[in-house]
Symmetry: C2
Subunit: 265 residues, 2 copies
């Protein structure tokens, strides 16, 4: 029995999220079906965490245990061949038997893409969060600075209470602005349910002037959900990278996740 | 009766090309339907030229004659409201009565997006031409230089003979390379049917070593179709801009055509 880990990108528009669930087609199910078709056994694929319906991944990580004589490269090819074109195993490698994509993860990096224009961009449907609002990006940047470091993010989650702790550390936060596009790239040691989307939703309300720039600091202090803003739509969100203490997927052909415009965060 | 011109972007994946034809849904038909719904009259929309199925536009130009009391901004909003989200009138303005989108055009700019990676990019399906071939970009650049200036492009068209002349002038040609993406931006005083795609197809065969870099010059001299290479797929092709002797669509909110990654050529 081999333990294998994979670096996965997928188009969130094509699935009801990462996690297998009855009656809905998920990324996990798609990969498990490809494995079943290949090795004739039910194999469970363990992701680093869930992504919601419509959320994209450039660098999701998952592991599974499998019996096969194929080497890593042939196994990856065989699985990609069986997958629909909306999910790709970018890298695949046999690893130590006790590697666990979720329990070993030490952090994640997400990108959120905001597109501002008067009319909906016809080629970016579902790939960006489009708004026709004129955004005060300076105010958004000021507000976002309060997220840096360790805080109780209770106010920025839509569930919250099912976790032992709602304290998380934002290790880095940066903005990339180009033409009509504003991208927030945020890395942390973990994220609560809907946390990135609620961070962004709050910043969008700061950008339109509906909330003051100091509302972020206030919501972090109070821990009250209603002190933060709305939850931004899934469409603009990308899981960019999962961080582990050990180096994984070293080598030349890691490649980008595959977003038009080569989002490289 | 007013003459109105519009700057249009659309997702080529959603249509059987620009031109109205029985039994297939086209961009022209979509805009004409929106106009019929708005003003209750059949209005013919005249584009600067056709684009094939799967070819995208960031800046197609078209004109039409219409009776309406709406000002330009309201007319644009009313039409965009009636259009599916895959076509957007980015700009619209009333113009001189004898403006003609096709006959007045003095040139066009196209971009062709090539994506190289071992596996198909899951988020760029239909938006780029994907190849797993390793391309010799230096050789492609050398070969492409031969396109500059005025030549008989007979060898680079799939019809050719229905035109009075097959001589065209390539006014500029440049490359943008970033990460896995190579973009060729080419501007000329006119293009024959399938000309850009055959130029790119030939360059791709130079890139993979199937054709020598001097084949472009040779095909331009001979005028023989089989001296040039294959016709590259529609998916990577974008009509970026149509050029007119008069300034059109001046002003602040021209905006990009709406490609993720903000392709600005």
């Amino acid at each position: 029995m081999r333990t294998v880990r994979a670096l996965i990108s997928y188009d969130g528009r094509a699935y009801h999220g990462w996690q297998r669930q009855d009656g809905f087609y998920s990324v996990q199910e798609a990969i498990e079906e490809a494995l079943y078709d290949l090795v004739g056994e039910k194999v469970t694929v363990h992701g680093s965490g869930r992504t919601d319906t419509g959320v994209h991944a450039l660098g999701q990580v998952a592991h599974f245990h499998v019996h096969t004589a194929l080497d890593d490269d042939r196994l990856r090819h065989a699985l990609n061949h069986r997958l629909a074109s909306r999910t790709v195993l970018q890298r695949l490698e046999t690893c130590r038997g006790d590697f666990h994509a979720r329990f070993d993860a030490r952090g994640k990096r997400y990108a959120y893409v905001i597109w501002t224009s008067r009319f909906k961009p016809p080629l970016a449907d579902g790939l960006v969060h489009w708004t026709r609002s004129v955004l005060d990006w300076e105010a958004m940047q000021r507000a976002a600075d309060a997220f840096r470091g360790e805080h109780d993010f209770r106010a920025f989650s839509n569930s919250g209470s099912d976790r032992k702790t709602t304290v998380r550390r934002i290790q880095s936060l940066r903005w990339i602005a180009r033409h009509n596009r504003i991208v927030l790239v945020v890395q942390g040691n973990g994220f609560l349910y809907n946390m990135v989307r609620t961070m962004v939703g709050t910043l969008l309300e700061v950008g339109t002037g509906r909330l003051p720039a100091d509302c972020v600091a206030q919501a972090l202090r109070s821990g009250v959900r209603t002190d933060a803003g709305m939850t931004a739509p899934a469409a603009g969100l990308y899981l960019v990278r999962v961080l582990y203490p050990e180096p994984i997927f070293q080598g030349r052909d890691r490649g980008p996740g595959g977003v038009p415009g080569a989002l490289q965060y």
